[in-house]
C-alpha cells in the first residue's frame, strides 16, 4: 500500500545533486559560469515559476524510476507541442496567452456515463501520485520527468464503458486564437490520439496534471494530458478536452499525417528505425556534452510490465 505524504515531494529528493554541484563550483570559480554543459545537468527546483500552483497531497509511487530527473527548465523549455509552433522552444515562448481554466472535458461514445464535466469534477475523486517516468521522443532524445497525475484506468472505470468499447480516443482543445501553431495547417487540427482499452487501463498509463509537484505549465499540456511511458512522446496528447470510447480503432494525427513514419501503436522499439533515423539509441537531455547516446530499451524499459499486452502482435509491422 502506498503511504500518504503530507506535502509535495521536493525535487531535491529525486536528484542526487551533490556530485555535479561540487564540480560546478570548481569551474564556476575558474570563471566558467555555465560549465554545466560540459558536465551535464540534473533536476533543479530553483527554476520553477512561482505562479504555478503547488499540488497538495501528492504521494510517491513504486512505479517511479530511480533515475535522476531532468531540470524543470529543460522539461518546460525543450518539448514539442505543435499547437504553439514547430521549434522546441516555441511552446515555452508562445503559450503565455493560453488559458487552462476554466476547463471542461467531454466524455462520450460507448459508455454508461457520458456528458460534459468541469475539470474539477473530473479530478475530484483521484488522489494524486508522483510518477517519475522515462520519456522517449520519436526524435531520439529522452528525459526523465517527475509527472504528477493519476491512473487513467481509475477515471475510465467511473464512466463505465460498455462491452462495445475497445478503444479510447482523445482530443486536444482547438483554440487558434490562443494557440498560434493551430493557425497554420501543418497538422490536421485538432490533434487526436488513441489507445486500445487494454493500454488505457494499464496501471502505468496516467493522466498528468502536474510536474515537479506543481500544476502543468501551459507548454507541457495544461491542464490535463496523457502520459504513456512505453510509447513515443507524441502519443501523450496534451490539453485534453474530449475522451471517447469507441468500438473501432480511432484515427490519430501523426499516423494519418505520415502513415509510413508513425503508427497507431508507436511503442518505443530500438529495432524499428524511423525511415530517416535510427531508434537504437537516444540522447538523454542534460547529459554531459561529450557523452555518447545511450541505448534505447524495448518499450522504453517498461517491457516487464507491458510486453504481455502485445503477445502475438507483429511489432515490426505495427510500429
Amino acid at each position: 500500500m502506498l503511504t500518504r505524504r503530507p506535502d509535495a515531494i521536493r525535487p531535491s529528493e529525486i536528484t542526487p545533486e551533490s556530485v555535479f554541484h561540487g564540480r560546478r563550483h570548481l569551474l564556476a570559480a575558474a570563471g566558467f559560469a555555465g560549465a554545466g554543459l560540459l558536465l551535464g545537468r540534473g533536476g533543479r527546483a530553483e527554476d520553477i515559476p512561482k505562479d504555478l500552483r503547488r499540488l497538495a497531497g501528492v504521494r510517491k509511487s513504486p512505479l517511479s524510476s530511480t533515475e535522476a530527473a531532468n531540470s524543470f527548465e529543460d522539461i518546460s523549455h525543450y518539448n514539442n507541442f505543435y499547437e504553439f509552433g514547430l521549434d522546441k522552444s516555441d511552446p515555452a515562448d508562445y503559450s503565455a496567452g493560453f488559458r487552462p481554466r476554466p476547463w471542461t472535458v467531454t466524455i462520450d461514445g460507448e459508455a454508461a456515463v457520458k456528458g460534459r464535466f468541469t475539470l474539477e469534477d473530473i479530478l475530484k475523486p483521484h488522489p494524486l501520485e508522483e510518477r517519475i517516468y522515462r520519456f522517449r521522443c520519436v526524435e531520439a532524445w529522452s528525459m526523465v520527468i517527475p509527472w504528477v497525475g493519476f491512473p487513467l484506468g481509475d477515471l475510465i472505470r467511473r464512466f463505465r464503458p460498455t462491452s462495445q468499447a475497445k478503444y479510447v480516443a482523445f482530443e486536444t482543445v482547438l483554440r487558434p486564437a490562443e494557440m498560434p501553431g493551430q493557425r497554420s495547417p501543418v497538422l490536421d487540427w485538432p490533434y487526436v490520439e488513441g489507445l486500445s482499452m487494454a493500454e488505457a487501463m494499464h496501471p502505468l498509463t496516467i493522466l498528468a496534471v502536474g510536474v515537479y509537484g506543481v500544476e502543468l505549465p501551459n507548454q507541457n499540456g495544461a491542464p490535463l494530458r496523457l502520459v504513456v511511458p512505453w510509447k513515443y512522446g507524441f502519443k501523450g496528447i496534451k490539453s485534453i478536452v474530449r475522451i471517447s470510447f469507441t468500438a473501432r480503432q480511432p484515427r490519430t494525427t501523426w499516423s494519418t499525417s505520415a502513415p509510413d513514419e508513425y503508427g497507431f501503436l508507436a511503442n518505443v522499439n530500438p529495432k524499428v528505425d524511423h525511415p530517416r533515423w535510427s531508434q537504437a539509441t537516444e540522447r538523454r537531455i542534460g547529459s554531459p556534452l561529450f557523452s555518447p547516446k545511450q541505448p534505447t530499451l524495448p518499450f522504453n524499459g517498461y517491457a516487464a510490465q507491458v510486453a504481455s499486452l502485445y503477445t502475438g502482435v507483429d511489432l515490426v509491422r505495427n510500429f
Binding site: 514547430l86 542534460g286 561529450f290
Partner: protein, 211 residues
C-alpha cells in the same frame, strides 16, 4: 568603391569577424562564457547551427559573382574565396560534431548512416564536393588548372542543391525553411544561366553583323 588597401585593412577583417560570430557563439555556449546558452540539447544546437551557417555562407559566396555582374564593380570577388572557405569550415565542423558529439565515434552506427540513410549520403556527397573546392581554392591551384578550374568550381551549384536536399529530407513536417534556401539557390542558378546566355549572344552578334 573601396580601394584595395581599404578592403585588405578594413572590410576583409570585418567580414571575417562577422562570419566567425556563429562559431564564437557556439564556443562561448560550450564553455558557458558570457551567459551564452545552447539550450537543452546542445549537440543538436551545434549540429543545426553549423549546418545552417554552412548553407547561408555558401549562398553568400554564390551571390558575389552576380553582385559583380550587376554592380560592375570588382570588389565582391575579393570576398568570394573567404566566404567559400568559411562555408566549407562550418560544413566540416558540422560533420565533426556529428562524428564526435552526436555519434560519439560509434563507427558501426556511422558507417550504417553513411550507407543507408539517404539524407546523410546526400550531405556527405555535398561535403566531399565542398572539400574539393576548398582544396583547389588557392591561387596556385587556380593557375595550375587554368580553364579546368572554372569547370571544377561549377561543382558549387550541384553541391548547393545537395545541401538543400539534405536539409529538406531531415525536416519532420514543415519544409518552408529548406524551401526558402532552395528558391534562393535556384534564383542564383537562373541568373547565372541567363547571364551566360546573354554573354554567348553578345559574342555571336558581331559575327552575324560581319556576315
Amino acid at each position: 568603391m573601396p580601394t584595395l588597401r581599404q578592403l585588405r585593412l578594413y572590410w576583409k577583417p570585418v567580414v571575417f569577424l562577422a562570419a566567425s560570430l556563429p562559431l564564437l557563439r557556439l564556443a562561448a555556449g560550450t564553455v558557458g562564457l558570457a551567459g551564452v546558452r545552447l539550450g537543452a540539447n546542445p549537440v543538436e544546437t551545434i549540429q543545426d547551427s553549423t549546418g545552417l551557417w554552412a548553407l547561408r555562407l555558401l549562398l553568400a559566396t554564390l551571390c558575389m559573382t552576380p553582385l559583380r555582374q550587376i554592380s560592375g564593380k570588382a570588389w565582391p570577388l575579393q570576398f568570394r574565396r573567404m566566404l567559400g572557405l568559411f562555408a566549407f569550415s562550418y560544413a566540416a565542423l558540422h560533420f565533426a560534431n556529428y562524428l564526435f558529439l552526436d555519434r560519439a565515434l560509434d563507427f558501426a552506427e556511422i558507417t550504417g548512416d553513411l550507407t543507408r540513410r539517404p539524407y546523410i549520403i546526400v550531405g556527405a556527397t555535398a561535403l566531399l564536393s565542398l572539400a574539393a573546392l576548398a582544396a583547389t581554392s588557392t591561387a596556385g591551384w587556380r593557375r595550375r588548372l587554368g580553364q579546368r578550374w572554372l569547370t571544377l568550381h561549377q561543382l558549387v551549384y550541384p553541391a548547393g542543391l545537395l545541401v538543400c536536399w539534405h536539409f529538406w529530407w531531415q525536416v519532420k513536417k514543415d519544409v518552408t525553411e529548406p524551401l526558402v534556401y532552395c528558391l534562393i539557390l535556384l534564383a542564383l542558378l537562373a541568373w547565372r544561366a541567363w547571364w551566360a546566355r546573354r554573354a554567348r549572344r553578345a559574342a555571336a552578334l558581331p559575327a552575324a553583323g560581319a556576315a
